[in-house]
């Protein structure tokens, strides 16, 4: 028996040793390159090791590597074979960078209902994150991702911003904003997070902001990305280019640091990272 086939087999196995990646690439119409599969595998392994979890589904409900190699793969949920996203009205996809909206009609529908589809996320333990590559220049409020139900009981799970502020709602209805920002300070990893019923948090590239705001019921609406699901209809269409989006349980600062650093390493591996 030649040793060469054994080495090849070993190499193939090492590229695909994360079950999430195996599931993720199965059934793709356009196969991913070996290099991309290796990068995804490294990302998943590093993230799980850093967070101390055996499966992504232990901490996340949905995770989209929007800055993937193909549009098809970038819309797939990396956590499980469910809630794959739909590109509505042709948002622009750029390989290894992400999706951007046209500000008028295009967005992504995650097909993940924040209330009915959740497994690890809950009212008092939730996180919603996006990785934004664009400078936001609009004075109007544009949604990065989320949903808002206005009929009582009102509920909001949302990240949205203007050129000067970032507003964050981890399952609450208070208009809490981080002010004094500019367009470039909202580039990178933006996360809204809640690990208690009384405190809400936001992180901009690992810098923490928080406010005392009680949680509210979770909106029984789909998570929209590059727009907001307002009572079942999209609005606040965003033109930013997003490379990543996830919903998970509430995380500690240390966990947030790991998520941010691990994804930035993936983006940097393609020369597309934007965190200074």
């Amino acid at each position: 028996m030649s040793i060469v086939p054994i080495i090849k087999k070993f190499r193939l196995g090492s590229n695909l040793n994360q079950p999430e990646v195996q599931q993720y690439i199965s059934g793709l119409t356009t196969p991913l390159s070996s290099a991309q599969k290796t990068k995804l595998n490294t990302f998943v392994r590093s993230l799980k090791n850093g967070l101390g979890i055996s499966y992504l589904s232990s901490a996340f409900d949905v995770m989209y590597i929007l800055g993937g190699e193909t549009a098809e793969s970038s819309l797939r949920n990396l956590v499980k074979n469910a809630h794959h996203a739909t590109a509505v009205n042709s948002p622009t996809f750029t390989a290894l960078e992400g999706f951007s909206g046209n500000g008028t009609s295009s967005y992504l529908n995650s097909n993940y209902n924040l209330s009915n589809s959740k497994i690890v996320a809950s009212q008092n333990s939730v996180s919603l994150g996006v990785y934004n590559r664009s400078e936001i220049t609009s004075l109007s409020t544009l949604a990065y991702a989320g949903a808002r139900k206005t009929t009582l009981p009102e509920s909001v799970t949302l990240l949205q911003g203007t050129s000067t502020s970032l507003f964050y709602y981890p399952n609450d209805t208070a208009d809490t904003g981080i002010t004094g920002l500019n367009g470039t300070t909202q580039k990178g990893m933006l996360i809204t997070n809640r690990i208690s019923d009384t405190i809400k948090e936001a992180y901009i590239n690992k810098t923490k902001y928080q406010a005392s705001v009680n949680s509210a019921a979770i909106a029984p609406l789909s998570l929209f990305i590059l727009a907001r699901d307002l009572d079942g209809n999209p609005d606040r269409y965003n033109t930013c280019q997003l490379s990543f989006c996830f919903v998970g349980k509430g995380f500690t600062q240390a966990n947030i640091n790991i998520i941010t650093d691990t994804f930035e390493a993936y983006m940097d591996s393609n020369g597309k990272g934007v965190i200074a």
Partner: protein, 175 residues
């Protein structure tokens, strides 16, 4: 360019829904009962199955570049983007949008100068007393004159309000 094709409700129904593997078309309702779809849908490889239908809906006279409004770009009869909503401004400088909750076109506001906008309902509520009589017009209106940027409602100066009234740009009716 942010080109969109203006289509009829019947055409919207024809192409609405999921197409390809992970794509969908959801025509956006706009004032006057029509819908718009992004021209980019025609070249989307995942929408190949409806490409011919979309191409057939495009005519030389029904494609518009939908721009974010600013002072110099507002013109009547065109669809524009304002605060994330597609709105239309008519010859009387009234601003219409489609309200997804009401499921109909609604009058949002009235343009009273190139860079100033008064929300119609606010003027009505705050310039009349309980009996419907007009009260302190200039004093009340000035705090509800807004510029076109969301959330920065700047009170107009007395001089600006006086000029708006003298120029006939504020008209109170019994609507």
């Amino acid at each position: 360019m942010n080109n969109h094709i203006i289509i009829t409700p019947e055409q919207a129904e024809l192409i609405r829904g999921n197409h390809g593997k992970y794509s969908a078309i959801e025509p956006v309702p706009v004032p006057a009962g029509n819908y718009i779809i992004s021209e980019d849908c025609i070249s989307d490889p995942d929408l190949l199955s409806v490409k011919e239908q979309l191409q057939a809906m495009k005519r030389p006279d029904n494609v518009q570049d939908i721009k974010d409004v600013n002072e110099s770009e507002i013109s009547t009869g065109r669809l524009v983007n304002h605060n994330g909503l597609v709105v239309c401004i008519d010859a009387a400088n009234e601003v219409f949008s489609y309200d997804t909750k009401e499921q109909s076109t609604v009058k949002k506001s009235v343009m009273i100068a190139p860079s100033l906008m008064v929300e119609r309902e606010q003027i009505k509520a705050l310039t009349t007393d309980a009996d419907g009589n007009i009260k302190k017009l200039a004093g009340n209106v000035k705090y509800y004159v807004a510029d076109l940027t969301e959330g920065t409602r700047t009170p107009a100066t007395d001089t600006e309000v006086e000029k708006l009234i003298n120029d006939g740009n504020i008209i109170i009716t019994n609507e």
